[in-house]
């Protein structure tokens, strides 16, 4: 893990966001947002629709330009272009499926490691990891929805990321698939990868995350361990009340 030198023992977080603001015209999508994710840590980002969760991901991935604040990965500014993320050890899945429908299962994963040595081996290992090794030659559209989501996850994992951003990874999945996903995420984190995930599935978030950050109207309204956040009245009022009562 990288450190700031001898002056401090505190490890540099894999992702550090400070004072982040994003404006769309007259709308403040994010206001003074700060959060950190350390190596091997799983952090959940939750909040109602429109809270700014995906916008925060887009800012980290250089898909939107922040109006204020800084985003650092391992102590250095995050890449300014999305195509440089993979080389910097950052991988992200997209909301929804995020697969490339014109490519086969294997090609969907290969696409993220085309410039790396033993690209076929890497892609196959990633597919095995999500349980799709036997489907590598199939058109990705021939797979059921949950398996297509696993393909997108395999594409992210194939790069061997040190920071993994998952945008609603459990969306549309059944209980068994959510359990598998939780196991995979914990395994990835156990390997030292920092994981930041956006998710509406509260039980999944509370079960898999070490810490949870809650956004509402573009601002952080709570942060802490899952059980602390769950009991936070402000969070319950803004978001969790409905979800927990479900």
């Amino acid at each position: 893990m990288a450190t700031h030198g001898a002056a401090t023992e505190r490890p540099v977080p894999r992702l550090r966001i400070q004072g982040l603001g994003v404006r769309f015209g007259g709308l403040d999508a994010l206001v003074d947002v700060g959060l950190e994710v350390g190596d091997g840590e799983v952090v959940g980002l939750i909040g109602p629709n429109g809270a700014g969760k995906t916008t925060l991901f887009n800012a980290v991935c250089a898909l939107v330009r922040p109006s204020t604040g800084t985003i650092e990965t391992a102590g250095v500014p995050a890449p300014g272009r999305p195509d440089r993320l993979a080389a910097a050890g950052i991988a992200r899945t997209l909301q929804g499926l995020g697969v490339l429908p014109g490519l086969s299962v294997l090609e969907n994963v290969l696409v993220s490691v085309l410039d790396r040595p033993d690209r076929n081996g890497r892609a196959r290992v990633a597919l095995e990891r999500v349980g799709l090794g036997a489907r590598s030659g199939d058109p990705v559209g021939a797979l059921p929805y949950p398996e297509q989501k696993r393909v997108a996850l395999a594409r992210a994992l194939a790069t061997g990321p040190s920071l993994l951003l998952l945008d609603e990874p459990a969306g549309g999945l059944g209980p068994a698939d959510v359990l598998d996903l939780s196991t995979t995420i914990r395994e990835v984190a156990a390997g030292g990868c920092a994981v930041l995930l956006v998710e509406h599935h509260v039980d999944f978030v509370m079960g898999v995350c070490d810490r949870v950050v809650v956004l509402d109207f573009g601002r952080v309204i709570a942060t802490g361990r899952p059980e602390e956040v769950r009991r936070d009245p402000a969070v319950e009022e803004a978001y969790l009340g409905l979800a927990v009562d479900r």
Partner: protein, 347 residues
């Protein structure tokens, strides 16, 4: 299209040998037509890759073929006295490809920032501007274009083959190289990158791909193929005339892509054959009818365009994957419906 490079080389070389041998079965005029098909195939295959693999629609490939034609003339003039006579067409073809690639690079750089109809509009504007450009630049020869010295059959082959067969040989060799290169690119990492960009630019970028760069590369590759086609046409016709590279040709190239099946190189061959041979076949058909001179004059050229339009509409409705897709489906369904051969007898 996903094949390994060795298989592609074998297929290309094998196909070329068969095609070269096949020219002995054709009369001179049909060999001339074959050379024209090969020239158009270069452009249609490149365009098919561009549209099918990156989703970029170009209506300006006729202008890129013209750039290849002018490049061929420049290359031949460049080589005049500097290289042996026999090598001048080779130099001409190289300069044709380079010239079209440079024009393609400029168009691609602009086009990478445009999507869908805007890129189509930009490339269409280039084709529309071609006559004005050639008339304003004296070096391009105005409406008359530029001529190159007539190339006869090399001495060693003159007793064996006719001029048209020699032209067909050159055209077939060029198209084999073009198809081989396109198929290799398509089957490799670049092909995956192109399809990724076509499917989802954001997902592709997050996977480490630069969508703009890939689009430009595809455009340059496609332009190079069109330039090779333009160079071959110039070689066959001993010159380049801007009037032959207008909007009609550009649209016919797109028709050739759609008819053959977008993104299918083998389908491009069907499209190219149709683009070259259909007007000829229609001409043969109408000449057999006892039409008044005025009606025959009106039909000349126009009927072919009408038939192309109808064919395009019909094929788009009946076979959206093109003629090759239709043939593939027909073959698959015949296999499925074929009666199974019993392996054991009840007796």
């Amino acid at each position: 299209m996903n094949q390994n490079p060795r298989r592609i080389v074998l297929l290309t070389v094998g196909g070329l040998v068969v095609a070269l041998a096949g020219t002995f079965l054709l009369d001179p005029y049909r060999n001339y037509l074959l050379a024209l098909v090969a020239a158009h195939l270069c452009a249609i295959a490149g365009l098919s890759l561009l549209i099918g693999r990156t989703g970029q629609l170009s209506l300006g490939h006729a202008a890129l073929m013209a750039a290849g034609g002018y490049g061929y003339v420049a290359g031949v003039k460049l080589g005049d006295g500097a290289v042996p006579d026999g090598l001048q067409p080779v130099l001409g073809l190289i300069v044709a490809v380079v010239t079209a690639s440079v024009v393609g690079l400029l168009l691609g750089l602009a086009g990478a920032r445009l999507h869908g109809p805007y890129l189509a509009g930009l490339t269409l504007a280039v084709v529309l501007a071609l006559p004005a450009l050639t008339s304003q630049i004296p070096a391009l020869g105005g409406d008359q274009g530029l001529m190159v010295p007539f190339r006869s059959v090399p001495q060693a082959l003159s007793s064996l083959i006719a001029l048209e067969q020699w032209q067909a040989w050159i055209a077939l060799t060029v198209v084999a190289v073009v198809l081989g290169v396109l198929a290799t690119v398509d089957a490799g990492a670049s092909g995956i990158r192109m399809r990724a960009v076509r499917d989802d630019e954001v997902a592709a970028a997050l996977a480490g791909i630069r969508p703009g760069r890939i689009k430009v590369q595809a455009f340059v590759l496609s332009a190079a193929a069109a330039g090779a086609g333009g160079g071959v046409l110039c070689f066959v016709d001993s010159g380049v005339r801007p009037g032959g590279y207008g909007v009609t040709l550009s649209l016919l190239l797109v028709v050739g892509v759609v008819v053959g099946g977008t993104g299918r190189l083998a389908g491009a061959a069907i499209g190219a054959a149709l683009v070259v041979l259909l007007p000829w076949l229609i001409g043969l058909g109408t000449s057999g009818l006892d039409l008044p001179a005025e009606a025959a004059q009106r039909l000349d050229g126009n009927l072919a365009v009408l038939v192309f339009g109808l064919l395009l509409i019909g094929l788009t409705v009946a076979a959206p994957t093109g003629a090759l897709g239709l043939l593939t489906r027909a073959g698959a369904s015949r296999k499925r419906s074929a009666p199974s051969i019993p392996t054991t007898s009840k007796d």
